[in-house]
């Protein structure tokens, strides 16, 4: 299933803070990798949550300051240093995770702000210039609407809004629907309903957000257990959460097959 002719998935997860983006994105990335696909996990949250779901430690300084040099006047402020391109950057700095996922994080908020800035420029350039046929991309955005509205998920042709059945989460989901009008509007924009205990909540979410629900993820105490133990949901327990993520990978793969 890993020929170079087929389409690679380019998926980003967004939604309100705490809605479950990282748990879902990290698990999705690993399950996709288990289908023999090359997967690059893209984390643009300066308070990263994805490493926990992937089952790797958080690194304080994922990339050294000297991966970039000052860019040319009128261009990007920082650019990858000579000799370093997207492919070699991924090779050197993307963390190897369980199931073979590679994980690309930018800087932490607690480093020097200038380090964070350099790391963000490096990350963005790598994402812009990587070979789209080489990788399936699974992205995790920080909570809220800001990054998504500023085009940070441009790499994705499928943007999935993670919504839990709370008024605030549905409200943020509804605002994110405006992504459909952006210049970089993704081909597919849909909702993943998370922490579902009552099937009626799925209908409420679909109505309030006004987008189709492509996946339903049950409320599963095993996710909390994993969280407290700093383990990946996939390593700590099977159960409803993991099962629903298998189904989500299938649905997203099917949505690609359907449109191309």
């Amino acid at each position: 299933m890993s020929g170079s002719q087929e389409t690679r998935l380019k998926v980003a997860f967004t939604g309100k803070g705490g809605s479950g983006k990282s748990s879902i994105a990290g698990t999705f990335a690993r399950l996709l990798a288990r289908t023999d696909q090359p997967v690059l996990a893209l984390d643009s949250d300066p308070l990263p949550g994805m490493p926990y779901a992937l089952g790797i430690p958080v690194e304080d300084e994922p990339t050294p300051d000297d991966v970039v040099v000052e860019g040319p006047a009128g261009g990007h402020r920082w650019v990858l240093r000579p000799g370093l391109d997207a492919a070699s950057f991924i090779d050197r700095y993307a963390t190897i995770c369980p199931d073979g996922v590679r994980y690309l994080q930018f800087g932490n908020l607690w480093g020097h702000i200038s380090s964070l800035q350099r790391a963000q420029y490096a990350w963005s350039q790598v994402v812009r210039e990587l070979d789209p046929d080489a990788w399936n991309l699974v992205g995790d955005l920080p909570g809220g609407t800001r990054q998504a509205m500023f085009g940070w998920a441009k790499y994705a042709d499928t943007v999935l809004i993670v919504v839990e059945p709370t008024v605030k989460s549905m409200h943020v989901g509804r605002r994110l629907r405006n992504l459909a009008d952006a210049d970089w509007a993704p081909e597919h924009l849909a909702v993943v309903a998370n922490k579902i205990a009552d099937p009626d909540d799925v209908r409420r979410i679909e109505e309030r957000v006004g987008l189709p629900v492509i996946g339903v993820v049950p409320a599963d105490p095993a996710v909390l257990t994993a969280d407290r133990a700093a383990g990946a949901p996939l390593d700590v327990a099977g159960g409803p959460f993991v099962e629903s993520l298998h189904a989500l990978v299938d649905s997203v793969q099917a949505s690609y097959a359907g449109t191309r």
Binding site: G17, L47, G49, Y52, V58, W110, G143, K168, D227
Partner: protein, 120 residues
């Protein structure tokens, strides 16, 4: 007059606040490694910037083990424990204030004692 500010998640706003802007900083932490990590950095920033008294509120504490782990992570602070309480989920789901849903629930009572601590 009392002003209560709810800051954005993480430490971004805290790092941009002028020194000595507030009388007290309440750092809210959950019993997960990620939350503990971020709270530790928030406490460091609040101390460094002299943002008043630092109070650590331990939220979603489900059992004695959660409490033990949190206390071990913050040995220099006495924790204000807010128990995991379905009333918060219910309020959240319906867009109501927990105080209106159940004013004597365990979580609401704990938050009441936080207010008392702040006013003393």
């Amino acid at each position: 007059m009392v002003i209560v500010a709810d800051l954005e998640a993480g430490i971004g706003t805290l790092t941009r606040l002028e020194d000595e802007s507030v009388d007290a900083t309440v750092v809210v932490v959950e019993p997960t490694p990620r939350s503990i990590d971020i709270a530790a950095r928030a406490i460091a920033v609040a101390d460094e910037r002299k943002q008043g008294r630092v109070i650590v509120a331990a939220n979603k504490v489900a059992d004695a083990d959660d409490e033990r782990r949190l206390q071990a992570a913050f040995p220099d602070h006495s924790l204000l424990i807010v128990p995991a309480d379905p009333v918060i989920d219910r309020a959240d789901r319906d867009g109501l204030s927990p105080v209106d849903v159940d004013p004597i629930s365990p979580a609401v009572s704990a938050i009441e004692s936080l207010a008392e601590v702040l006013l003393t």
